[in-house]
């Protein structure tokens, strides 16, 4: 940090528009949404047109006594970081709540400026800035970050370098004042005021108590507290004092409009009658999600746009490159190989993936609009009823919806969870939701299987199933790891707002840019790697002539695929070695599955031919295994960072296990039904599939009833030999044996 650089922290309650303001003044793209606790990690950037001022955007915090990892991050910045002051952001509509935090910041002696956001939504009156300035001795500015109103005026003092951190002293009752007088002289100097630190220690602030312990003051502090007989009633007085100050200040600061009685205002928005009603909200939500998939993938909607994009943009570009290669006029083997290397190896996969840009664009736009309008918090309330039964709270729905875009932010969002249980379980289940990279692969495959008019429905079906599957995974893990821990759900019902289209466009642009970058670098490299392994072999042929496709059977890739091909036989994907390769190479980034299908099968038509023996069974098995077998590399790294090695390993191991079992059951079920339809082994299959269906149903019933009987913390502790356990084991065995029988018969018929 240069000696001229000044840095300021943006601090405020959740959902007051800190990140929106931060994005406007720094031209950054921090995540924003109309739901509380979107920001879970601190970010910083220099202010626009001034490299000497750095702004830190921090997670929302209700009071300076932190709760949860996101609030702790904010308080740690305030407590330990180097900075010159705090810009306190408030929501003009919730001053009664937000001023409690302002008083704490002023008491800490770090408050530099008050920025009151969303003044455009304040319909009940106006705010007297001068009276606020008089109270806190700092500059006050009213803005609307969303509408860009007054932003320039608000940051003028930053440019002018005129902001100074100020503080105020709040007087408490005699006992507390005596304690402060006793402890203050022995407390080492700190950026935050000593009075504030003692008050926070009384309120049980874990960071401050740790500071007291490190300075060997805790014992003395506790002894003084005991001697002075400071009890819960006195601690409550601290809150009451702040509340009293806020009430007094509001009477002076808020000037109500004539004819408006603030006490008689309708608290309930008319739309909440519908949006919080489970019978209306659940179908409405499903309808909205179905609509998003329809718009994205239907042949006369997103499909049409994708077609136009391919015809006019990509094919034109591909044509120019192909012409340039043919201009080389390849005559010898090396030139033919070179043309093939550039056309198929380097560019083929990239162009296949880039053709999905219109789908991605529409999908991300719709999901961002959904986040912006404030519907997610209401849906969380409605779905909490279902989620609470699985041991997690309705807040997980926000993670699931975010996961539709990308799993990585969905995992980091778990920092706002209310307990370790919720954080771990939600982080584990988040990667099971189909992210946009997986969804475009579904769309690609579904278009080949169901046709352009029905592909959107198939894609929606798999994505919806991924949500159900994630919730079941959540249920499994909360029973496996944290059986006895209760979950708590507190969510702010954000005001319904029209979406900020600037935010939407910016987010869509950033997502598409990162998609293109990822495609060119990761997909391009992976595709090149596969191409080289496909066209080179160990049998004295370093370079196989691409015209000789029979040579592929002796390629390195074929040899690598052997063990995986055998492993995938029970789920029907061992019929062709190319399936195992396409799943294997899609591990770093899921889009690679589509480009590998293009390279290995010669496009979706080749894939259709490959699955022609049992189209529905192989396609469903492939999609199920692809959807859940492993998160992408980026998600794995974030999982390790957020919840550690152990739970990351749980995620990968169980993901692989469950996806394999799911693919195995689906292959048996769909393969059996397909062969019944074809009149092959009809009676045998009918019996086996009936057994399979009955066992699956009884299995689910058993799981639910059994869960209520578990008295222990986790599944691993169950040692009793009850009837439930016996039934469970018998069911598992019957399920496994029946599925394996069906799969063996199906495979022997089609082989």
């Amino acid at each position: 940090m240069s000696e001229f650089t000044k840095s300021y922290l943006l601090i405020g309650a959740p959902n007051v528009g800190k990140s929106t303001f931060y994005n406007k003044i720094t031209w950054q793209n921090a995540p924003v949404g109309n739901v509380d606790r979107v920001t879970t990690l601190a970010t910083s950037s220099k202010i626009r047109n001034n490299k000497n001022i750095e702004i830190f955007d921090l997670p929302g915090i209700n009071t300076l006594n932190p709760n949860g990892d996101d609030e702790l991050e904010t308080f740690n910045y305030l407590f330990s970081h180097k900075y010159d002051g705090v810009l306190n952001i408030l929501n003009a509509n919730s001053l009664k709540r937000d001023l409690l935090l302002t008083y704490q910041l002023a008491e800490a002696g770090v408050l530099s400026m008050l920025i009151i956001n969303m003044v455009d939504e304040l319909r009940t009156g106006t705010i007297d800035k001068l009276k606020l300035t008089k109270e806190f001795k700092v500059l006050v500015e009213c803005i609307s970050a969303k509408k860009n109103d007054n932003i320039k005026t608000a940051i003028r003092p930053l440019h002018a370098n005129t902001l100074i951190a100020k503080g105020i002293d709040i007087q408490y009752n005699k006992k507390i004042e005596t304690l402060i007088a006793k402890i203050m002289p022995i407390l080492p100097n700190h950026k935050l005021s000593k009075r504030f630190l003692i008050i926070q220690a009384l309120l049980g602030n874990p960071v401050v108590l740790d500071f007291f312990t490190k300075n060997k003051l805790l014992k003395k502090f506790l002894a003084s507290k005991k001697t002075l007989e400071i009890n819960d009633k006195d601690i409550n007085e601290i809150y009451k004092k702040h509340e009293f100050l806020v009430d007094q200040l509001l009477k002076k600061v808020l000037i109500p409009k004539t004819g408006i009685n603030v006490n008689n205002l309708e608290r309930k928005h008319w739309s909440d009658t519908f949006l919080l009603n489970k019978w209306i909200a659940v179908p409405l939500f499903l309808f909205i999600m179905l609509g998003i998939y329809f718009i994205t993938f239907y042949e006369y909607a997103g499909g049409w746009i994708q077609n136009q994009f391919n015809v006019y943009a990509l094919e034109g570009l591909a044509g120019i490159i192909t012409d340039s290669i043919s201009d080389l006029n390849p005559t010898n083997e090396l030139q033919v190989w070179l043309a093939h290397f550039v056309g198929d190896g380097m560019l083929g996969g990239i162009f296949t993936i880039l053709s999905f840009i219109p789908w991605l664009l529409i999908l991300i736009t719709c999901i961002t609009i959904l986040e912006q309008i404030g519907l997610l918090s209401r849906m969380s309330v409605v779905f909490d009823r279902v989620f609470a039964k699985t041991g997690i709270s309705g807040r997980a729905l926000i993670n699931l919806i975010t996961g539709f875009g990308c799993n990585v932010p969905a995992i980091t969002l778990t920092r706002n969870a209310s307990s370790v249980k919720e954080r771990v379980v939600t982080a584990i289940l988040s990667p099971f939701v189909s992210c946009s990279a997986r969804v475009i692969v579904y769309g690609f495959i579904m278009e080949g299987i169901l046709g352009t008019d029905l592909s959107w429905l198939g894609t929606f079906g798999i994505s919806a199933f991924s949500v159900v599957f994630s919730v079941l995974i959540g249920y499994f893990f909360s029973n496996l790891l944290f059986r006895k821990t209760n979950s708590v759900f507190i969510i702010e019902l954000a005001r319904l707002r029209s979406p900020d289209m600037n935010v939407v466009f910016k987010k869509v642009f950033v997502e598409c840019y990162s998609f293109v970058k990822r495609t060119i670098v990761v997909v391009g490299l992976c595709n090149l790697f596969i191409w080289i392994l496909l066209w080179t072999g160990p049998n004295n042929e370093f370079i196989i002539n691409p015209a000789n496709e029979m040579g592929i059977e002796n390629s390195f890739l074929r040899y690598i695929a052997y063990p995986f091909q055998y492993l995938l036989y029970p789920i029907g994907l061992g019929l062709k070695w190319e399936f195992s390769v396409s799943l294997l190479v899609a591990f770093p980034a899921k889009e690679i599955a589509a480009s590998s299908i293009d390279l290995l099968f010669g496009g979706i038509t080749g894939f259709q031919t490959a699955i022609a023996v049992l189209p529905s069974a192989i396609a469903v098995s492939y999609l199920f295994f692809f959807a859940f077998y492993s998160p992408c590399l980026a998600a794995i790294v974030v999982l390790k960072k957020e919840i550690g090695w152990k739970y990351m390993a749980y995620n990968i191991f169980y993901g692989l296990l469950f996806s394999y079992l799911l693919a195995m059951f689906s292959f048996g079920l769909f393969g059996g039904i397909e062969l019944i339809i074809r009149n092959t082994h009809t009676i045998a299959f009918s019996i086996l599939i009936t057994i399979l269906g009955m066992v699956i149903i009884s299995y689910v019933v058993l799981m639910i009833t059994r869960a209520k009987k578990w008295p222990t913390d986790s599944i691993w502790e169950i040692k009793d030999n009850t009837l439930y356990n016996k039934l469970f084991i018998v069911n598992t065995m019957v399920l496994g044996v029946t599925t394996l029988c069906i799969n063996a018969i199906v495979l022997s018929v089609v082989h």
Partner: protein, 78 residues
């Protein structure tokens, strides 16, 4: 004054919260953080899901709260 649980509070009523059971430390601290401490006036907007989830207005902000542990409050209607 009567002892009620927040989850069984009557809807469309103002309550003056006198005491909150500290059985669940996270919930207790969360409620304090959003201004739900003793002596605080809250407005019970609605009671959902047979008493397990409550929508309340605290400091002009609407929250949905659910806890598997009941929160006992000594409350008096205003």
């Amino acid at each position: 004054m009567k002892l009620i649980s927040l989850n069984n509070a009557e809807k469309n009523t103002h309550y003056l919260v006198k005491d909150i059971q500290k059985s669940n430390s996270y919930l207790y601290r969360s409620l304090i953080n959003i201004g739900f401490f003793s002596g605080k006036k809250i407005y019970i907007k609605d009671v959902k899901y047979g008493g397990t989830l409550t929508l309340v207005v605290i400091n002009d902000i609407e929250y949905a709260i659910r806890s598997q542990d009941l929160i006992h409050v000594k409350a008096e209607a205003i």
